[in-house]
Structure formats: C-alpha cells, structure tokens
Symmetry: C2
Subunit: 127 residues, 2 copies
DNA sequence: GTATGTGCAAATGGTTTGCAGTGGG
DNA sequence: CCCACTGCAAACCATTTGCACATAC
C-alpha cells in the first residue's frame, strides 16, 4: 500500500460523490503534484479488483468510482450526470431470477431522471 | 434512407443477436464491400436517435445494438459476453420509483451470469 | 534484496469528425 | 438541384502499457 494508492483510496471513500478518474486525479494532485495519471488508473483498477471500491460504467462518459461496496442501484441525471445511490428493496430481482436456468453473479441497475437542480433550470429548450 | 442505412438496419433487426458495430460492419461488407466503418457508426447513431434500434453500452467492451425498442433487462454472460433479452415483470421498479422526488425517464438493468455453454466448459481454472 | 509500484510518454481501441465528392428525393 | 450522406483518413479521448527508476516490506 503505497502513498499514492492510499491517497487515491481516501479520495474515493471520503465522500459519497461518484467521481471520474480524471476528477480523482485532479484532487490527488493537489496533495501530490507528481502523481501520474497512469498511476491513478492502475490503482483504481487494483482497488476495484480487491473489492475495496466499485467501478461504475457510464453511458458515453468516463467511468465513475463508488465507495459503496455492496451492489445497489444508481439514480443518474441525464442532464448533468450526477449519480446518487439507491437502496435495493429486498428480493426485488427475485421474480426475474426465478425464470433463469442458473444463478445471477451480479447486477447493474441504473435509473435515469432529471435531477431537481436541472429540472429547475430547464426553461431553455437546449438539449 | 440510403442503401447503406437500410442494410445496417436490416442486419440489426434481422436477428435477436446483440451485435457490436464491428460485427455489423463485417456482415454489411459481405454485401457492400465499399462500406466505410464511419458510415456504420454514423447510421447506428442515427437509428438510435430515431428510436428504431437501441444501443446497449457494455462494461469494458464495445457497445452492442438491440432490435428490441422497448426497455427491457438484459442477461449477460460474464465469460463470453453473450446477451439475452429478458422480460421486465410489470411494475417491478415501482417500489424503487416510489421513493424518488420525480419521474424516471428510463432505466437500464443488466443481470450477469455464466451462460450454460460457458458453464459446461468451465473445467479449466482459467479466468 | 526483490517484487511491486511509480512517472513518463507512447500506444490502444472504440468511436467521432472534417473534407471533398456522391446520390437520393 | 440541393442537402444529406458517403468513403477516407485523421483526430479524439478514456484508458492501458512498456520501460527505467524508485520504494515498500
């Protein structure tokens, strides 16, 4: 566990934000200006493999990293990209799993919406 | 509606396969060898925008295209990447939506498993 | 001491785009 | 006839990787 890895880990787990590698890189550089971008990617990958954090693949956008290790759904704003964690109701997927020949090894559930902030500023017709 | 676009559309909608742009490109070139890769991407994008097909973003892999237009969950083999369509039980997401301040504009549900074919060949310890 | 990690810079790979020419309506 | 579309090739951009040096244990 190097200084670099620890710093990256602390940044991801310090806040509930779901940051991109680039955001993490920028934040980390404030404290360790010599840090290389490649090191950030390598360590994020290792932390994910080790199960310490989760990677969240985003549609047409850089991946984000989640400090919450247990699987759970995400609520994503289609306008600004903000991500919130949701709580998965017990056994919600049971009816789906029931029809399958084998066990589910994992799942990924994303709900899309327009967040209150973006809805407030929606007046313009801009895409 | 050009010959190129029609060909691409037919390839996506002809089978329930969830093909990548590259696979579609290869298949299309069998019938139209002059077709450019860029044209495939452009037309897939246009077809998606027009709501005629759907784009399926895959984790750490090229996107796949789905002829089924209605939102539905996908069952994805973690080993070989094969994708199957599932049927969303009526109102399964209702309990999740209930807790939100606004309406859901869409969702994406991926279930991961090891498909029967891959499970059969699982003997090796290879990753 | 040595396996592992780092910084750097170049490579990758899926996808997008600028441009000049083509063709559908 | 004109605008949208094509083929081509170069550009993009998030991410990965090879390498020589540094560091954790």
């Amino acid at each position: 566990m190097t200084r670099q890895r620890e710093l990256i880990y602390r940044i991801v787990t310090a806040a509930p934000e779901h940051r991109t590698a680039e955001e993490i890189y920028d934040l980390a550089r404030e404290q360790m200006p010599s840090l290389a971008r490649g090191t950030v990617y390598r360590n994020l990958g290792l932390l994910v493999q080790a199960g310490q954090i989760r990677k969240l693949e985003m549609a047409d956008a850089p991946a984000r990293y989640d400090r919450e290790r247990r699987p759970h759904p995400h609520l994503i704003c289609q306008r600004c990209g903000r991500v919130e964690d949701l709580v998965m109701p017990e056994a919600l997927l049971a009816p789906l799993e029931a029809g399958l020949p084998g066990p589910i090894t994992g799942y990924e559930l994303k709900l899309y919406h327009i967040c209150p902030a973006c809805r407030g500023a929606r007046k313009d017709g801009a895409r």
